[in-house]
Structure formats: C-alpha cells, structure tokens
Symmetry: C3
C-alpha cells in the first residue's frame, strides 16, 4: 500500500487484508514493528481522536510521530499558487509540506473543505493539491469529502458485532446541529456501507441531499458489492428493520457555503435528534453509530447515547487499530 | 497498583515499595520496561513540570505519551450532565475521556478545582466524576484537593536529605501571592508530612485555615504514623527548630471562591514572603521547599531561593523518578 | 562534544567528524542508539522546521523529546533578574530552565534576539544567560546571532553537491521582506561559508551592513580556512561567477530595533527579490539557497524557487541528519 487517501481506492481483497491486519494487531501487538519510524502529522483543521489515536498507534508499533499545526505554534501557511507573499503567511505549503514530509516515513494530512464551491470540494481538489506536494506516502486524516480512517474503523466495528453485510440495512441519518458541518463523514460513510454490500439509505431533510457525485460513486461501489444506495426524507420507511442508524449532521447542499441560508433551513429541524422512539420499528438489535464528537441532546439524546444500542466508543477505539494497520501496511509494506 | 489518585490511598508498605522503585529507576534506568506502552495525558488545567516530566518518564521507560488539552488545539469539552449541547462545547467528557483513555494504558488527568463550593472541592467531586469515566487506570496529575505525584516526589526528596521522619518538624507556611490559588498542594502536603510521621504545622494568617476535613484526614494519618498535625498563625513558635519550611500560597478559605474578598484579605499580608530572617531560629540545617512555579520576591526572596537551603530543584527533579515509579507500578504491575 | 552552541566553537577536525557522522546516520540509521534518552526542547520563539526535525531526529535514533513553549500552554516566564514577580509571569527561567533540563539528556533552546541593543545581541547575551541555567548539555536552536544547526545542514548540503570549498564563491544576499528579521541566519551563514574556505561575499543595500563583530569573526575563520570575507552593495560584481546565492532578509543594522525607520529604509528595496536574471553572470551551475521559511515573490520568485537551481528542500532535509549527528555526538559521546 503506497498511500491511504480514500477507502474507494482499495480493492476488496486488499481491504480484507487491512481489516485482518487491524484485528491481528489488536490481539498481538508488535511493539518493535516500526522501530525508528516517524509519522509526520499535519493538522490544518482541529482534531482530538485523530490526533491522539495516530500518536498512540505509532507508539504501540514502536515508532513515534510529530505534529505540525498552525494551532500548535507554527506560522500561518499560504496555499494559493503564484501569490506575492507580503501578508501574514510566512511560508507556502509548497515548501512546508515537502519539508515536513521529508522528516517522516509517511505524512498524515487533515484539511477540511474550504466550503466555497461544492464542485471543488466534491472533487477534493484542495486535499489532492496538498497531498501532491508530499514526497512521503500520504494518509488522509479527513479531507473535504473523505475520511477513510473513520470508515475503516466503522467497518471493523460492524464486523465485530456481526452486522450483516449483504442484507444488512444501514441508515445514515442527517441530524440537527447548531453549525453547518463538512460533508466528509457522510460521503465517506455512504461509500463505506455501499462497499460493504449493505442496503444503504441516506435519510435527510430536503435541502440536505448528498451531492450526486457522492451518490453515484456509492452506487458504483454497491453494484460491485451487491448492496444498494438510495436517498429519502421519509424517516418511517427508512429506519424500519434497520440494523444500524448512523447519525451525522452536515451542511445544506442546497445553500452550500452560505451560512445564513443554511441556518435558516435548519430552523424547524430540531426534531432530527435521535431518541429511543427511532428504534421502535428497527431491527431489535439495531445499533446507534456516530463518528464523534457528538453534541448530546442535539444530535442524539442521552438515553440512546448512554444505552446499550450505542457503539460510538467502540467505533472510536477501532480508530486506533484501523490506523495501526494502515501505518503497518505503509511503513512495513505488509499490505 | 490499579491507579494513583491520592497518596492517602497507599498502605505504608506499598508507599515504601513505590519509593524504593523510584530510587531504583533513578540509578538503574529500564529503557525497555514500557515498550509499546502509551500514557494518555488529559490537561484541563495548565502545566509545565507535570506535562514535561510525565512525557520524559514514559520515554525513559521506553514507552511514550500523548497530550489532549483544550490549550493544544482540541475543542472545548462539556462536563455538565444532561445538558443540551447547543453552545460552544463540541464534545462531552462522557465521550472524550473514555475515548482518550482507550488509546492509552493509563490516563493522567489534571483538573483544578472549580472553586465554587469548598465542600465539593474538598470532596474532589469533579475529579472523581472525570476519573470514573476512564476505562484505563487513572493517575491524578493534580485535582481540586490532591497532588499525589508532588507529594511522592517531596517525600523522596526528604528521604534523600535524611530529614527525620518521627521527630522531624515540618512547617507548611502560607505565602503571599497576587492570586487566589488552589488548595491541592497545601492539602496534599500536610497529608504527606503527617503520613511521614513528622510534627506537621500549618502556619497561615487568619482566614486561610485549611478545611477541617483536610486537617482531620491528616490527623488520622498522623495517628497511624506517630506524627502530629496542628495549625497556627504564630510564626515564631511555628518555625522554631523546624527542619523544613514548605512555602505555598493558597486562597482564603473564609472567602472561598470570592476573588474580591480574597484579595482584600491578602492586602497587608505582603510580609508573608520567606526571607533569610525566617531561618534564624530554625534547625541549623533547615531547608526551604516549594512545589514550583514560584513567584520570586513575592512568595520567597532571591536570597533564600538561590541559597543553599533551597531544595526546590531537587523536588522538581524527583517528580521524574516518582512518576517513573508510578507508571512502572501501574503498567508493569511491579508494585 | 559537550554542547552545540556555535559552529565557530568546533575545531575543523571535529566539524568533519560531525559531518561524517551525519552522512553515516543518513545511510545507516541507528534506531536503538538513543534508547531511553530524552531531548528537552524549549521554544521561546516560534518554529516549524526546527521543532519537527528535532523531534524526528530523536525518534529515528530510538529516543524521544518533549516540548516546553509558552505557545504550548505553559505559563509566561520571567527572564529579568531580581524582579518582584507580581505581574503576569508565573515562573522565572532560573527555575524553569534547570527543571526542564533535568528531565532531559540535553536541552535545545530557541530564543530570538530581544532587538533592543545590537551590542547585546551580537554578544548573544540573552542566549548565554539562558544556557548557563541548564544542567544538561545545551543545543542552540537559533539565538540572537547564531544558528549552528542550520549552518551544519547547509555545509552538508554544499558538500553533497560538490560545491568547491577553497575557490568556491558564496554570495549571501540581503533580500526584500515586509518585516525586520533577526541577524542569526546571516551571521551564522557568513561564518559557515568563511569556515568552509569559500570566497564569501555579503551583498546588501546601504544600512544593512552586518555588524563589524560578525564580519571580524568571519574574517578570522577565513584566515584559518584559506577563504575570504567581504561586504558590498554592488550586485553585478558580487554575483559574477558565484557558485551559490544564499538569499536572506535581515533588519537594518543602521536603525536596529527601530521598526519605523527600518521599514522606511526598506521602501525602494523591492528589487532585492531573487529572479532568473540574477543567474545570468553566475557560474552556470550556481544554486539558490535559503534557510526557509521563505516568502515567495518577495524574497525570491516562483521561477527560481521551483526551478532546478533551488536546493532549499535539500537544505531543510539535511537539518534532520545534521541534528541527528549533534544528538548522537552529545548523548553517545561519539564526537
């Protein structure tokens, strides 16, 4: 494996090998595997789970990592090409990224969407531009439209709990939130469920349709895996017999990048907070999933989150093992 | 040892084992002892010594650590139960703590007192609530009322300098300071000196009495160890023949949580700055102690701090060995 | 090697050994060399390359590091002697530095010039005062007037590209910049080129002369190495047949510490931006050098920086190997 930018890049066989490796490293740690190896971590957007789990993953494999982030005392970085840099930015990513990459055996990059153009963001143009500057293998730690580490962890979590692949019903539900959030997790999640062969349903209010390019890509994955993908605003129909409700808020795609219209549209959508009533018609063992961080009693209420249906902590813990596998695969060439 | 929350939790025999281990690791480093092990560090309050010494301690034992802190680019955390999270906090400690803990083999937590209710703070309610969320063993890196890492280091320091246990006179003296400071160090220190069997005197102006619960607990420890504990405002009597003067400022307990009345009470207490005159009637080899950070010429003057009586740097250095022992004990099960 | 404060401290033979060691560690990593060893890093000024490359260097040698910095959540530090600390500073460097140093096997310090007095800065008084407080070996990570890690990396880079030592023509050129920058890199660079035996020319506009003490020290080094050092404002003459143009902006020495007069003097100096025309009369294989971070199209234009003459990324990468050698030399006693 030369890099880890998108779950969709992985052939099914390779994905299984990666999941096997994650399970193996969970049971049989290899504290010398990455001795003397270094992971460079570039955070252009904030993080808790990703930052801490990647550091831990390297340590558990005997290596280490360092963090570069404008929030950690480094100077502001310029990203625009051709600009006369007489403003606040002290360094261009054209220097910063290859330099940081040259100090590591792989480079993790987190860079959220600029949220100016949905077309650009769906193509993940900014992330690809940053990644192309790295001389080291790149790991996507969440970009405009992708979050493969989360997806790999979610897949592993569902395997552990014996969620059915073909025949499993997976509902990705939009949820209420005070802010307009990125499309990365919903886009990655619908892709992941489709690749896993599940009946994948995107449940969302009008104005929050996922971009057609995202849906089309997921449908192509479903065609290979034997799953299906569709979108609806009908909650009752969507969640009936579901095996998983994966809640996540995202910004309006109708008013993409327009904070005011987005907020207006979200007025009246406070009911999109997952509570126990959602599980009345699901499969009896239906689980609640979320990538975290989650706002309690806004996205989901305490009762669901603290109850036996919630597997959010298991998902978060599997970030560690998923990422250990990715690092092992890239730095040891094991997958 | 399953956790390290409070020095008072330790049986005398176990405490001696921990001190032995600290001395052994100082002389005979074990750079492979914690290979592949990870310490998660959650700082909800600022730190210099604790942050750097815990990182160093893990590295010297062959492991590593990561830091999560709202000052290090992670989002604000909610701590209140049952709240509708539509404000600035992006994540609840109910998720954040178990997640962070799940990436480590132990979790260090630093969380100063909320300073709203002295009754709650004395019970260390907030720390215990946070600690109860961890699935990993917890290390107290300073809470509302406890600082066992500092106490263990101080104990080791006094042993090295052959401070008498029974028969030693230990004066914890209040000192001047521009701010109302936490009770953690004074409460921990009086407990530590009492457990060590010393004649323990809390010297403080009126209005700065330590809480009765703290004094009572220390007296119980003294009853076991053969020491004693008392409080006084009479400096001359307190410091006569003392073997150690441990200076520390703390907030008024009479006006606890009231910054204005606290400041008012501190007017006129500028004389509570330790200088050479304090040592005229002490034991000739009396030492000056402080946990650091210390404000020069406010808490203690340059002459004492730079002179031969000061052992503050030795105390700080022993933080490293004390914490190496705690980590070894917890992660290797050696104590 | 007991410390690494200044390239000029090194005898020629020792410098060659250090370069040999850097080359050896680049080719033959030693991931167990510094097992259990810890580097303490104190950043009183911002950093990207230095912070990340030192962390990586320790990890590649099997050790680790920790960072203390007022930008990373530690409290403000006092540096003035004898002061009554009743202001914002919570701790004095007289405690902070020995404590941090005592947790490491070496202490890296970065502290830019106070820029109040050019005489004090040229003597590096502040850095030396800080360094004198450390009980551990000190590594200069850039001070008022020195940057030996950069110089060692630059030297190695020139060796790799077979830049002639004696007979090589090295031009350190002032460049345009929106801000008044420190003298550390220009002073270190002229010293490095002189020590390397090159014909060293400082090209700069009037008002930006390097301090006489810096020039005099470089001339003494040139006398030993067989090189030469001079200063000029005549670009045409300076760059003719040059093997290297090393661009760097620095503050006016005529108006040192006076931001307004400095800015005024820089009006009209926008032409000091290196572009392709500069290389018309140089040696055909003349290279462009810079220590980074660099402001594109202010200090140097895109065409030069992205073209084949630029070796700035190689310089930055060599920071890693240079510093691995320094750490190995100090902590293993190998040089």
């Amino acid at each position: 494996m030369k890099s880890f930018r998108d779950l969709a890049d992985l052939e099914p066989q390779r994905l299984e090998e990666l999941l096997d490796l994650a399970r193996r490293l969970e049971k049989h740690p290899e504290p010398k595997a990455l001795e003397g190896k270094v992971l460079a971590l570039l955070f252009l957007s904030p993080s808790l789970r990703t930052m801490t789990s990647f550091q831990s993953a390297m340590l558990r494999l005997g290596g280490g990592s360092f963090i570069a982030s404008p929030e950690f005392g480094i100077h502001p970085l310029e990203t625009r090409p051709g600009v006369v840099m007489d403003g606040t930015a002290v360094e261009h990513v054209r220097e910063a990224i290859p330099v940081i990459a040259s100090y590591g055996d792989a480079l993790g990059i987190r860079a959220f969407a600029p949220r100016k153009s949905i077309e650009d963001d769906v193509l993940d143009k900014d992330f690809d531009a940053l990644a192309s500057l790295s001389t080291a293998p790149v790991i996507n730690m969440e970009s405009a439209i992708r979050h493969p580490c989360q997806s790999l962890a979610d897949w592993k979590t569902m395997d552990e709990l014996s969620f059915p692949r073909n025949g499993g019903k997976f509902v990705l539900s939009w949820a209420n939130h005070p802010k307009a959030l990125p499309l990365a997790v919903p886009a990655a999640t619908v892709q992941m469920a489709a690749m896993r062969g599940m009946e994948t349903i995107v449940l969302r209010p009008e104005g929050f349709e996922l971009p057609e390019a995202v849906m089309e890509r997921a449908r192509r994955a479903a065609a290979v895996s034997g799953g299906s993908v569709r979108e609806t605003a009908d909650r009752a129909e969507a969640i009936e017999d579901a095996h998983a409700i994966y809640a996540k808020s995202w910004s309006s795609t109708r008013h993409y990048g327009d904070a005011d219209l987005d907020r207006e549209l979200r007025q009246g959508l406070r009911g999109w907070c997952v509570d126990d009533s959602w599980f009345e018609t699901t499969s009896p063992d239906c689980r609640f999933m979320h990538c975290l961080p989650v706002r309690r009693n806004v996205v989901v209420n305490d009762s669901v989150l603290d109850g036996p249906r919630s597997i959010v902590l298991k998902q978060a813990r599997n970030r560690l093992y998923a990422q250990m596998a990715v690092l092992h695969a890239i730095m040891k060439g094991s997958v």
